[in-house]
């Protein structure tokens, strides 16, 4: 038959055979695609809606924003990103949600701020959307997110307090961070310095570095009087000293910030900051930390690991110069500790476009968007197991310019955990800690300041 057809049309038999095979493959793939669509949801069910997505000015936001045209084409929903600098964003988020303003539909949050927002019914629980087959595609695969991240964003609100472990889902992760020490290899090599492992070692290294080159800030750490400067270096190192933000004493929740371990930690940490950090420590947020390590004005930094990764990306001035190590540990401890921060997308409970908002959250945290963002060098530390099993991401992250990023990530992740006690009142207690830290760095007595801090925290409990 093909021979006859070919002869009739003036083509060779081989050409016709190939054409038939192609046609068969096309039909088969079209059938498969139709089958897949049958499992899918109607992405255009909220066509014409317009939503606002608020977030921190952050490469994670850039990764999603870059793919927004695809979402708008898929759904017919218009998304307006509103991005703000870090400090301004958190304050604005609280005001927007607490005033029940419907103007933001989807917001970026971490677990800790969500603890304060959820009990006031300012965030929309997402279980209803996740479990609705008309709203959530079968291929979304919520269980693909690392269990630790899912668990951290799931809790019950009982008598105005957080009860972790089970309950409602309050946000969906789309990137996470663990706290590491990252450093400029070129600077440490130039001055023959070893990577420090404890605060006293760091202090000694800083003194050497300052003596060798006074223009370099040895260590970049956040110091603003806001909880964000506690949740990175301070809490990670403190945990290795045995410090707990809260503990149960005589059956009651009690602050652990005036314990002997806490005093020991603060003495070492304050000494380290005085010897190592920039004079502008009190005003430094993550923007200054990243800028310092990128420009080479800072030799080392303790913060979220992806800040090192982003600056190692090919084409950046510091590409290939930044390497990674676990965060510092107490001198008498065998193990380092690392706090985690989960950038997540949540829904404003006052949003009037919840269906469209959910489609956006679902799309932005889907396997494909996560993978695209990761291999674009922006959504690093992707929260899905499937991304970490994907060859494209693993090959990209293992490129030589990223030095030991993957190996360090794996070793740190084994010990990375949420270092704070889940509770309403997180911001108040941690803001007070950040202010106390500034006071101690400026010369206030450690023991007295911690006693005052503990008393302040107790009065607000």
């Amino acid at each position: 038959m093909p021979r006859k057809l070919a002869a009739g049309c003036g083509h060779s038999a081989d050409f016709v055979r190939k054409a038939l095979i192609c046609c068969t493959l096309l039909v088969a793939s079209a059938m498969t695609s139709t089958h897949a669509k049958a499992d899918d949801i109607n992405w255009r069910q909220f066509e014409g809606a317009s939503i606002v997505w608020a977030y921190d000015i952050h490469p994670y936001a850039d990764a999603v924003a870059a793919q927004l045209p695809e979402f708008e084409k898929l759904t017919g929903i218009k998304v307006t990103p509103e991005l703000y600098p870090d400090d301004a964003y958190w304050n604005k988020l609280t005001i927007q949600l607490s005033t029940k303003s419907p103007s933001w539909d989807v917001v970026g949050t971490g677990i800790q701020p969500a603890w304060d927002l959820a009990p006031g019914q300012l965030l929309e629980p997402l279980d209803r959307y996740l479990n609705d087959p008309k709203l959530t595609a079968a291929g979304y695969d919520y269980k693909d997110f690392f269990p630790a991240l899912r668990d951290a964003l799931t809790w019950k609100v009982k008598e105005g307090q957080i009860e972790p472990g089970s309950g409602q889902v309050w946000a969906i992760p789309h990137g996470f961070e663990n706290i590491q020490l990252f450093y400029r290899k070129d600077i440490l090599d130039k001055y023959g310095l070893k990577v420090p492992t404890t605060p006293p070692e760091m202090s000694a290294a800083c003194e050497k570095l300052k003596a060798a080159d006074g223009a370099i800030t040895p260590l970049g750490v956040r110091g603003v009087r806001f909880w964000s400067s506690i949740h990175t270096a301070a809490i990670s190192i403190a945990k290795s000293y045995g410090v707990h933000d809260f503990l149960i004493k005589d059956g009651k929740l009690e602050t652990g910030l005036e314990s002997p371990e806490s005093i020991a930690f603060h003495k070492d940490y304050v000494d380290m900051i005085r010897k190592c950090a920039a004079p502008s420590f009190a005003n430094d947020n993550w923007y200054q930390v990243v800028d310092g390590i990128n420009s080479g004005r800072t030799a080392m930094a303790i913060d979220s690991n992806m800040f090192g990764f982003w600056n190692d990306v090919a084409g950046k001035p510091a590409s290939g110069k930044i390497a990674f190590a676990p965060s510092l540990r107490a001198p008498n401890s065998k193990n380092f500790e690392s706090n985690i921060w989960i950038w997540s997308l949540a829904m404003n409970a006052s949003s009037q476009k919840k269906g469209a908002a959910w489609l956006f959250i679902q799309w932005a945290t889907s396997k494909q968007v996560e993978l695209n963002g990761a291999v674009a060098g922006k959504l690093v530390n992707p929260p899905r197991a499937s991304t970490w099993a994907d060859k494209a991401w693993l090959e990209y992250a293992a490129k030589p310019e990223f030095n030991n990023f993957v190996d360090t990530f794996k070793s740190v992740q084994e010990r990375a955990a949420l270092a704070f006690t889940p509770r309403v009142g997180f911001a108040e207690a941690m803001n007070a800690w950040a202010v106390a830290m500034q006071k101690m760095v400026n010369g206030a007595d450690v023991k007295t300041t911690l006693a005052d801090l503990a008393s302040e925290i107790r009065s607000s409990m």
Binding site: T94, R225, F226, P279, N283, R297, E428, N442, E456, S460
Partner: protein
């Protein structure tokens, strides 16, 4: 006699004309009330919001707390027990007092300069007003960059004069000074503008008369001009004092109240307590205390202004 009586009764009883006028006046009153009703409603709205704020300060309103309880003066009692609160009161008064004082002095000097016919002074008149038209948050961000101890231009300029690195807003010892400097840079033109208007209003004949009587430049300024422009200085000071005691943008945009609590004025403390720590009841209490300080300060300044104005006139 009858005529006299009639005349008397007509005098006692209101005439038709008068009654009509009374009705008209009543109508006029209703019209007046209708005319000022929007103003009354707006005023009541303001008062309601203010008293609602005061009411909030008497509750334990906080996020995540299912019930809001009336706790009387507990928030205030808790506040006055803490050293940080008194530090905030001190910071508020020091910031506002020193900023207004320096602005008045510099504003007076600038206004005097503008009142001359020097070409450069005339040229500078519109330029000097530029800081006033900048949004305070932009001013804060601009100065934060300039005052960076390592990479800011301020330290570079000081280094040209051989002065070593200054910590500016990063050190509790210098942070308040730096904030006052920013406030002075921003609002001195306001004083200069008002005082300049005052100087322009002085009749030249008065100066001429003083000169004829042998008074020299400094004496004319001290004994003629200064008393005459004093009410202008004081009215500018009233406006600036109210604003400085409530100043938020410049302080929050630069130090956020730090380092430590060195620049945590009451408005910043209230904001952090309410919107970062989510303790609205306590935040409202701090705001009410701030309001009382503004009220006392303003009353004192207005009383002084009235006294000076009476003496001048």
């Amino acid at each position: 006699m009858i005529a006299t009586l009639q005349s008397s009764t007509s005098q006692l009883a209101p005439s038709k004309h008068e009654a009509a006028r009374g009705i008209e006046e009543a109508r006029l009153d209703w019209r007046s009330i209708a005319a000022i009703a929007p103003a009354i409603i707006i005023l009541l709205g303001f008062l309601f919001l203010f008293f609602y704020g005061v009411f909030q300060s008497l509750t334990d309103l906080k996020f995540g707390r299912p019930l809001v309880r009336f706790i009387g003066l507990d928030n205030y009692a808790a506040l006055i027990k803490t050293a940080d609160f008194w530090n905030s009161v001190r910071a508020t008064v020091v910031y506002a007092g020193s900023a207004v004082f320096v602005q008045a002095a510099l504003g007076l000097a600038l206004a005097k300069l503008f009142a001359t016919e020097v070409f450069l002074a005339r040229l500078m008149r519109p330029v000097i007003l530029l800081p006033l038209v900048l949004p305070p948050m932009s001013v804060a961000l601009m100065w934060t960059t300039m005052m960076d101890p390592q990479s800011g231009i301020m330290n570079y300029l000081l280094s040209l004069a051989g002065i070593s690195r200054f910590a500016w807003i990063s050190d509790p010892a210098t942070a308040m000074f730096s904030l006052v400097l920013i406030d002075v840079w921003t609002y001195t033109p306001f004083f200069a503008l008002i005082i300049f208007a005052g100087l322009q209003g002085i009749n030249d004949e008065i100066r001429e008369a003083a000169r004829v009587n042998g008074a020299k430049g400094w004496a004319i300024f001290l004994h003629i001009e200064l008393p005459l422009i004093a009410p202008y200085i004081l009215i500018a000071a009233v406006f600036r004092l109210i604003e400085s005691l409530n100043q938020f943008d410049i302080i929050f945009g630069t130090t956020q109240g730090g380092p430590g609590n060195s620049t945590a004025v009451l408005s910043v403390r209230a904001y952090i307590t309410a919107f970062q720590n989510l303790a609205f009841g306590r935040g409202a209490a701090v705001m009410v205390v701030n309001w009382m300080i503004v009220l006392v300060g303003t009353f004192a300044m207005v009383k002084l202004w009235r006294f000076v104005r009476q003496r001048v006139s």
